[in-house]
């Protein structure tokens, strides 16, 4: 499949001039149309004429999830409501619900960037795409759906849940590409094997996985078990949904659709802009959105930006796989801990499965980190000392990566509750 949109291989100058132009237009647009943004700018004595190019981006105020909550539901909408054709909403798991609004043009742009993402993993009109992201208020299902449809592929809009039915569709209709969360892919694999099927019964060649953080080792695990290529896709409802960035066949960083979503990295603590190759929180300004444009939206996702000579021919800037979230970050005995660090250690042990739970307690004023991980049922040994020594090696490996100790407990296969959406990895029981 060739590159979907030639903008993806534009020269640096060409891209920069598009971004400059769109940023200036966007700032004028929100200043004129969104009182909330106008006030935010005037409060710091900033006016549209102060923003002449991307060099001035840093002058603009940030937008956070709190701003979206404060203006709930329509306070950041920049057009008349009759121009809005679609609403999506966040699950509200981390606080009050937020909603996002799209014009017809926004849906077209979104479909287009999602089509780019599918084309990046060599999906074309001949493919059958099984979309097992949830449909509805969540952007995953409909986002993947519109993109795959725009590409001309055959779409199975199965949505999330009902794993047995998912397996029937995978084995009967033989989709070639699947879109879902990586943890759900592993769950579907288990259900498939338990139902007596083998890899010969399915025809998947690739999966486009996102909506939750995952590690390189988890990718290897999915690729090993299912004999498919596993690609990372990134997005968030506030910016548009899936399709903000995605991997190509190089599997080395996610190309950001930067002609639509202007990225920058800021320091996690003081929020000062950082350069290429520096790790921090990724911030996006939507420069091609009409319904609800966001200026410097703080995603809370931690990554870095980099450029390389990608074998796929795209020049779009890349972001590394998201390794954690500023709000997923656990502070345990004063040490910053990301669940992804723990996951990558666990996956180095063949005796374990990628199903784990991190439980944090506070006992006698001390934080206690417990990690429950399921054993691989085929590698169970009869000897207590071998199991204990396995626990000990895991504990040692975790301590050397995190710098703090954890209590590791091996649990029975399939005893950790499966989620059909985002996996529940962390249980923080500390009462502070």
């Amino acid at each position: 499949m060739s590159i979907w949109d030639k903008i993806e291989s534009a020269s640096a100058d060409e891209m920069r001039s598009i971004q400059d132009k769109r940023l200036v237009e966007t700032v004028e647009y929100v200043y004129d149309r969104v009182p909330y943004y106008r006030k935010k700018m005037e409060d710091i004595d900033l006016y549209p004429e102060d923003i002449k190019s991307c060099d001035d981006l840093y002058k603009l105020p940030f937008t956070t999830k709190d701003d979206l909550r404060d203006t709930y539901p329509y306070g950041l909408v920049a057009v008349d409501l009759d121009e809005i054709v679609r609403i999506h909403a966040s699950s509200g798991t981390t606080g009050k619900r937020i909603v996002v609004a799209y014009t017809k043009e926004d849906i077209d742009t979104w479909s287009d960037v999602m089509a780019r993402c599918f084309a990046r993993i060599e999906t074309d009109s001949k493919d059958i795409v099984h979309v097992a992201y949830g449909y509805g208020l969540f952007t995953g299902g409909l986002g993947a759906h519109y993109g795959a449809e725009k590409l001309g592929a055959t779409v199975i809009p199965i949505s999330g849940g009902n794993s047995r039915r998912q397996v029937e569709f995978l084995t009967d209709l033989k989709p070639t590409v699947i879109a879902c969360t990586p943890s759900y892919m592993l769950h579907l694999y288990e259900v498939m094997i338990d139902a007596g099927y083998t890899l010969d019964d399915i025809s998947l060649k690739a999966g486009i996985f996102g909506a939750e953080p995952w590690s390189e080792n988890m990718r290897k695990e999915i690729e090993r078990l299912l004999k498919i290529k596993a690609y990372d896709i990134y997005g968030l409802s506030e910016i548009t949904g899936p399709g903000v960035a995605s991997e190509c066949i190089a599997q080395n960083g996610l190309h950001i659709n930067e002609d639509c979503y202007l990225p920058e990295i800021v320091d996690v603590i003081d929020h000062k802009p950082l350069g290429l190759n520096e790790q921090g929180e990724i911030v996006f300004t939507t420069i091609k959105k009409k319904g609800m444009p966001l200026i410097r939206y703080r995603t809370k996702d931690i990554t870095k930006l980099f450029k390389d000579d990608c074998i796929c021919g795209r020049t779009l800037v890349k972001m590394e796989r998201v390794t954690g979230r500023t709000d997923d970050m656990l502070i345990i005995r004063g040490v910053n801990v990301f669940p992804s660090q723990i996951e990558s250690v666990l996956l180095e042990f063949s005796q374990l499965t990628p199903n784990y739970q991190i439980i944090v307690d506070r006992i006698n004023m001390m934080d206690v980190l417990n990690i429950h991980v399921e054993m691989n049922e085929n590698l169970f040994t009869d000897e207590v000392k071998k199991i204990e020594s396995l626990e000990k090696s895991i504990t040692g490996a975790i301590e050397s990566v995190l710098g703090i100790s954890a209590k590791v407990k091996l649990v029975e296969p399939k005893s950790i509750e499966r989620s059909e959406g985002k996996a529940v990895r962390i249980i923080d029981r500390r009462k502070i």
Partner: protein, 137 residues
């Protein structure tokens, strides 16, 4: 003399053992011998049943971590020194015992002992040469 022992990984959770044995009961599987090795977090249940392969398949289907190990089953005299004798033979032949459990026979004055050793073939040779056998199922 060689029997297949089934080992099952069990988390220390209330009711887990009852659950497991009920599954066996429902499938009409009789447990001939049983022991548990326990630690703070988990236990390993070791059982001897008539049809080890069938039991393994059943338990795997039910989601348990199961493995099959060859162990030695031996009849010994139920009197002082009964267990020391074969253990000395194993020791003299450089065979080490990883674990052991025993149960009484009902009818005669013997006991059945289950040995898990590091070299099961050698142990079998040494013990049968010395007249040990196994009548228990």
């Amino acid at each position: 003399m060689l029997v297949k022992q089934i080992s099952i990984f069990l988390e220390n959770k209330e009711g887990r053992l009852a659950e497991l044995t009920s599954i066996l009961a429902k499938a009409e599987i009789n447990i001939n011998a049983l022991t548990i090795a326990d630690t703070a977090d988990f236990g390993i249940l070791r059982i001897i049943v008539d049809d080890a392969d069938k039991t393994e398949t059943l338990l795997k289907k039910e989601g348990f971590s199961v493995s099959i190990t060859d162990v030695l089953a031996l009849d010994i005299d139920n009197k002082p020194g009964g267990i020391a004798k074969p253990l000395n033979m194993l020791h003299e032949n450089g065979i080490s015992v990883e674990y052991i459990y025993a149960f009484l026979a009902k009818k005669d004055n013997t006991a059945h002992v289950i040995f898990k050793v590091n070299d099961v073939d050698l142990a079998k040779k040494v013990l049968s040469k010395n007249g040990y056998r196994n009548t228990a199922k």
